[in-house]
Amino acid sequence: MKKKLKIDDNIFRLIIILVVFLLIAGITKGNSFLKVSIFQTMGRQMAEYGLMAVGCGICMISGGIDLSCVYVANLCGISAALLMQKNENAILPAILLAIVIGAACGAFNGFLISYLRIPPMLATLGSYQLFQGISVVISNGSTVSGAPEKYTDFGMKTVAGIPAAFLVFVLIIIIMSVVMGKTKFGARVFLVGTNAKCATFAGIKNKSIIIKTYMISGIVSGCAGLLSLARINSAKADFGTSYTMQCILIAVLGGVNPNGGFGTIPGIAIAVLILQVLSSYLNTFPDVSNYYRDCIWGIALIGVLILNHVINKKKSDKLAKMGS
């Protein structure tokens, strides 16, 4: 028997949407859209919020939500920048520092959610204010810049025409897909998200799983912060506040169920691509206001939710008929 390549229905749909968008963009705005430089910019921008979306998505799979991704990223970026300002050669320690801070922030979120049993939305809502506050305090409320050139070069570096930031994004996506798809830990996260009580009875230590999930989200967001620091050579406490909404949108677009238990990392990655293509395409129309993007995101979010709902319902109706 031939072994069929297994592709998730949802991922298949997403790939079709992506191809359709690329075709539309290519045909209508071929000469200004299909350029290497545009794709390079896309790769750089996408890496940042794409990573945050992955972090948020994992938390949503576990049945929670992480609203603090953006602020964890900013905090990591600011602290790395401050360290590198003081010591030009401390690039590696700065990166490590950022990742440790990201992990600590995530662990803090996880602690609030698992041990103190604060609902995830509220816990991360409170902690994002806290993280943003800490960022404001350590940066004195101003923009931190002046990272050494060696570091900022990375933001502009390309490997065979592909931006390095995008490669980092792909690398993390691959790692996370393996972690969520192939390891015991990943399977447990899905279980906890589907039904926390059943997971407890199945002998899973929910608390440690949740803490680890949020720690991963924190670390991934920290990487996003480092990438944006490299790209724009500055970090600020209120940078990218609109990304929070965008991350949730991407995760839902990518097939993550907001109630937990369903979703795939490759799905999220393709959703990131779709969003970036759409957004870059809109940018090629100079007279279309940026604010229309908000409008489209909102409609897309609700539209995708309804579409998934209808498709799932049809599927379950079919199954019910087959059963009877």
Binding site: L116, L130, M245, L249, N290, Y291, L305, H309
Partner: protein, 340 residues
């Protein structure tokens, strides 16, 4: 008597009240300016809009789940109301402008309510989506910019309820008319929530949807109605904000939702639904307003404001959670005792 004491002690509102008094005394001791008449009026003034939003958040939380679209509903509906009244050169009584706003607010709320009721999606995600949509319409389609109020609202804005002047510092402060609107909304909400069948239904469907349905409440209608009412209250708040700042500022609305939600959670509203009081709304809002208003009085840099708010939210939400954990342990012990 003891039973009553116990009941009071168990209410979150009571503890928030204690924290407020404690904080007020500290601020008074450090700065000596907290109980000055102008500071009190200032706090009352800055509480008007958050307290109105708090009612929206309360209704949504108690019955369904978080609603984060109210700031944008407020912004868009008050924009429409103000533009329409300027376009038609309206110069009648001020409350007609409010009615126009409430009409549009109700429409937007109905959109939220329809999607949430029909598809049973999580309200957080839906309202995030619609608020993004509204912001796109407001800033993209209408290209809203700062503008002056129509003449009738301008006159309304210049009225004042109370004007005080601090003898020592010479700083004055006025309480604008929207304060009366706030009081009216709270009285109406209190009466409806406590003395009507629909009001009890709001709590019932949040507590247990299936039980409420069996008890004869029309869950879908009530839920839809709540989001429509939320839209109307949000639009009132939006117009009040415009009246208080004497002009319409489209970019000042977004972003307030999280602090309002934090305030009502501090005031004892449960995330899981079914529990929450208007008293708690006021107290929670008062606490957060005091913190943001008074840090400067105590001499703490504004930079620390967010840290304080975040810490208060986390501590405030952790206390009920810890209380319930301890409560459970206590229950177990009692049971064990009986068995022995």
């Amino acid at each position: 008597m003891k039973k009553q004491m116990n009941k009071v002690l168990r209410q979150t509102e009571f503890w928030v009240f204690l924290i407020i008094i404690f904080l007020a005394l500290i601020i008074q001791a450090r700065s000596g300016a907290f109980f000055a008449n102008n500071n009190i009026v200032d706090i009352m003034r800055s509480m008007i809009c958050p307290s109105l939003y708090a009612v929206c958040a309360l209704l949504a939380f108690v019955s369904t789940g978080p609603d984060v679209s109210f700031p944008l509903v407020a912004a868009l509906s008050s924009y429409l109301a103000i533009t329409i009244s300027i376009k038609i050169n309206y110069d009648g009584p001020w409350f007609v402008v409010y009615l126009i706003g409430m009409f549009f607010g109700a429409l937007m709320g109905a959109l939220n309510g329809f999607i949430i009721v029909k598809y049973k999606f999580p309200s957080l995600i839906v309202t995030l989506g619609t608020s993004s949509l509204f912001s796109g319409i407001l800033l993209g389609t209408f290209e809203a910019a700062r503008m002056d109020l129509p003449a009738t609202l301008q006159r309304f804005a210049e009225l004042s309820l109370l004007t005080v002047k601090n003898e020592k510092t010479g700083l004055g402060s006025t309480l604008p008319m929207p304060f009366l609107i706030l009081v009216a909304v709270y009285i109406a909400a209190y009466l409806v929530l406590n003395y009507t069948m629909v009001g009890r239904g709001v709590y019932a469907i949040g507590g247990d949807e299936i039980s409420a349905e069996r008890a004869g409440f029309n869950v879908k209608k009530i839920r839809f109605g709540i989001f429509v009412v939320n839209g109307m209250i949000a639009s009132i708040a939006g117009l009040c904000y415009a009246v208080m700042s004497m002009r319409y500022l489209p970019n000042e609305y977004a972003g307030g939702e999280m602090v309002v939600i934090a305030a009502i959670i501090l005031g004892g509203t449960r995330m899981t639904g079914g529990i929450g009081t208007l008293k708690g709304c006021i107290l929670g809002t008062l606490l957060l307003t005091m913190v943001t208003n008074s840090l400067i009085l105590v001499g703490i840099s504004v930079y620390w404001q967010k840290v304080f708010i975040g810490a208060i939210i986390i501590i405030g939400t952790a206390i009920p959670a810890i209380q319930s954990i301890f409560g459970k342990n206590k229950g177990k012990k009692v049971k064990g005792g009986e068995a022995a």
